[in-house]
Amino acid sequence: MRVMVLVKATAASEAGEMPSEALLEAMTAYNEELAAAGVMLGGEGLHPSAKGKRIVFEGASRTVVDGPFAETRELVAGFWLLEVRDMEEAVEWVRRCPNPMRERSEIEIRPVFEAGDFGDAMTPELKDREETLRSRLDD
C-alpha cells in the first residue's frame, strides 16, 4: 500500500527557521535508510505558507487568498510518499524519523487511493477522458 506521510508545520517552520546541519544530516541518513529498504517513492520539504496561495471554492466563485495561513498545526511542512506492506509498517518507519522540529510537532500518515477505490463514481467515459489526459501529461 502507498501512504502519504505529512510533516505538520510548527510556529518555527512557519517563521522560516531552517533545519540545523545536524538535523539535515540525520534526515539524509533516514532517507537513505528508506531508499535502501525499497520503501521510499519520493518526498520533499515545503516552504512556509507565507510563500503559498489558496484558492477558495464556493459554488461558481473562486477567490485567491495569499499566505501565510492561520491554524499552523494543520499546515504541511513536508511530505514523503512511501510504499509499505501495511499501516503498522508505515507507523514504524515514521516512528524512527528524526524529530523534524525543535518544538513539539506531528507527522500524519494517510493511505493513498488506489485504482478501484473510486468504484462506480468513475464512469467508463470519465475514465477514458482521465486516461487521455494522463497519457498527454506523460508525453
Binding site: A36, G38, R95, R96, E114, G116, D128, E131, T132, D138
Partner: protein, 427 residues
C-alpha cells in the same frame, strides 16, 4: 498487548535483514545467524511490552543477538575444553571467544545487500534461491512461501533447509561480491527477483491470476537493489521492467479473476506513478550504457505498451524489432514465441503464423499452452475460426492456471458461432 506484539513485529520486519545479514557476515553461518536473530526477537517480545520499544530498536536487537552469540560460543568452547581434557589433549592456547567478540563488534557495509547476494548464490537452483530470498530477505513465513510456490508446507521447509545446507557446503563468503565475480552474482540476483515477480504476476498454476503480495515483494527488493547497486545498468533495467509490468496489475484480470489481454485492458487502471518510475529506470539503464541488455530490452518492450495512450497506438514494429534483438541475447523459445506474436501484430497474422509454425516444428515448446493459444489467435484473425477453435481447446487442455484455462475455453466457444471468412483481418 496484541498491539504491542504487532508493533514489535513491524520493527522486526524492518530490522531483520540488517540483523541477520550482519550476524551471517560475522559468524559465517546462516542458520546460527537466524537462530540468534530469532532469540533477539523473543527477548524483545518479553522486554518491550514492559519497558516500551527502545529508542534505537535495531541497536537493541543487535546487542541482544550479540549477547546470545557470545553465550553460545562460550558454552561451546567450554565443551570443547572439557572434551580436549578428557582426550588428554592440551587445550588450544588461544581463546577464540575474544576474537569472535571483536568480529561481532566490527562495523560494516551494506548488510541487506549482502544478504540478497547470499540468498541468491549461483550454487543454488533458481527455485532454492527464490525460496531463500523470500524467507531471509523478505521475511515471509514458510507457510507463505509454500503458498507462493504451491508447495506443501513440509516441501517448502525442506527446500529452504536444503538450500541453506548447500550454501554452507560452498563455503561462500557472506559479503556482497566484488571484482570479476560481481557481474555473474548480480545476474543471479536479477533472475531470482524476476522469478518472484513473475510468480506473483503470471502464476504458472493455481487459481489466482495475480498474487499482489509477491509482486510487491519483488518490487521492493528491486527498488532496494537499485539503491544499493546504483551503477549497474541491468539492475535498473530489471527495476524498469518490474515497475512497467507491475503498473498493469490492477487491470490484468476481471473481478472473477479471468485474465484480460493487453489491448482490452482498462488503461485508466494502469498505475501512472509506476509507469513514470519504470520509464525513468529505463532511461537510467540506458544512461549507464545498458542499451541492449536482457532486462533493458524487456523493459523497452514494456515501455512501448506503457507509452501508448490506446491499443491502436502501440508501436508493434518497434516491439518486433526489440524482440529481434532480445532473442539474440536471451535464446529462449518463449522469447521466440513472443517475438512471433509481435510480428503478427506488426505485419499481420500470416507473418506471425509462419514464425509460430517454425517454433511448433522445432518441438521445444511442446506442452506449453501459450503456443497453441497464439496459433489460435492468428488463425482467428485470418478468418479461420474453424481452425482456431481446436488450437484454443488444445491450449486450454495444456494450461495449469485455472483463470487462463477459463479464458481459453471462452475463446474456443467464441469460434463456434462464426464462420470462416475470406481474406485476412489484422484487428
Amino acid at each position: 498487548m496484541d498491539d504491542a506484539r504487532k508493533a514489535i513485529e513491524s520493527v522486526f520486519r524492518i530490522e531483520r535483514v540488517r540483523l541477520i545479514g550482519g550476524l551471517a557476515r560475522r559468524l559465517r553461518d546462516l542458520p546460527l545467524a537466524e537462530e540468534f536473530a530469532q532469540d533477539a526477537l523473543a527477548a524483545a517480545l518479553v522486554d518491550w511490552p514492559r519497558s516500551g520499544v527502545p529508542e534505537r530498536p535495531g541497536a537493541w536487537l543487535a546487542a541482544a543477538a550479540r549477547r546470545r552469540a557470545i553465550d553460545h560460543f562460550r558454552r561451546r568452547e567450554m565443551w570443547a575444553r572439557r572434551h580436549a581434557a578428557l582426550a588428554f589433549e592440551m587445550p588450544a592456547a588461544e581463546d577464540p571467544v575474544p576474537a569472535l567478540e571483536a568480529r561481532l563488534d566490527d562495523e560494516v557495509g551494506d548488510e541487506s545487500l549482502a544478504l540478497i547476494f547470499i540468498a541468491c548464490h549461483p550454487a543454488l537452483t533458481r527455485e532454492a534461491r527464490a525460496a531463500l530470498t523470500l524467507r531471509l530477505v523478505a521475511g515471509l513465513s514458510v507457510a507463505e512461501i509454500a503458498r507462493a510456490f504451491l508447495l506443501a508446507e513440509g516441501a517448502a521447509a525442506r527446500r529452504i533447509t536444503r538450500a541453506k545446507a548447500a550454501l554452507a557446503a560452498t563455503g561462500a563468503a557472506f559479503e556482497a561480491p566484488r571484482g570479476p565475480d560481481r557481474a555473474a552474482r548480480i545476474a543471479s540476483v536479477l533472475e531470482v527477483l524476476y522469478l518472484i515477480f513473475n510468480e506473483g504476476y503470471a502464476p504458472t498454476s493455481g487459481a489466482k491470476p495475480v498474487r499482489a503480495d509477491l509482486c510487491a515483494e519483488a518490487l521492493r527488493l528491486a527498488r532496494a537493489l537499485a539503491h544499493g547497486c546504483r551503477a549497474e545498468p541491468e539492475v535498473w533495467g530489471l527495476l524498469g521492467l518490474i515497475e512497467l509490468q507491475g503498473s498493469r496489475r490492477n487491470a490484468r484480470a476481471t473481478a472473477e479473476g479471468l485474465p484480460i489481454p493487453l489491448p482490452e485492458q482498462d488503461r485508466a487502471r494502469w498505475d501512472r506513478l509506476m509507469i513514470r518510475r519504470g520509464l525513468a529506470a529505463l532511461e537510467r539503464a540506458r544512461a549507464l550504457g545498458g542499451e541492449g541488455g536482457d532486462y533493458e530490452l524487456q523493459a523497452a518492450i514494456a515501455a512501448c505498451h506503457a507509452r501508448a495512450s490506446r491499443p491502436e497506438a502501440v508501436d508493434w514494429a518497434e516491439i518486433a524489432r526489440l524482440y529481434d534483438r532480445l532473442v539474440e541475447v536471451r535464446r529462449s523459445p518463449v522469447v521466440a514465441l513472443n517475438r512471433a506474436v509481435a510480428w503478427s501484430m506488426a505485419e499481420g497474422p500470416q507473418e506471425g503464423l509462419v514464425h509460430l509454425r517454425d517454433i511448433e516444428a522445432a518441438g521445444v515448446l511442446r506442452g506449453y499452452a501459450p503456443l497453441p493459444a497464439a496459433i489460435g489467435d492468428c488463425l482467428r484473425r485470418m478468418g479461420r475460426p474453424d481452425l482456431a477453435r481446436p488450437a484454443f481447446l488444445q491450449a486450454a487442455r495444456l494450461s495449469r492456471n485455472d483463470a487462463e484455462r477459463a479464458f481459453l475455453l471462452r475463446r474456443a466457444d467464441a469460434c463456434v458461432g462464426s464462420l470462416p471468412r475470406e481474406g485476412a483481418d489484422d484487428a
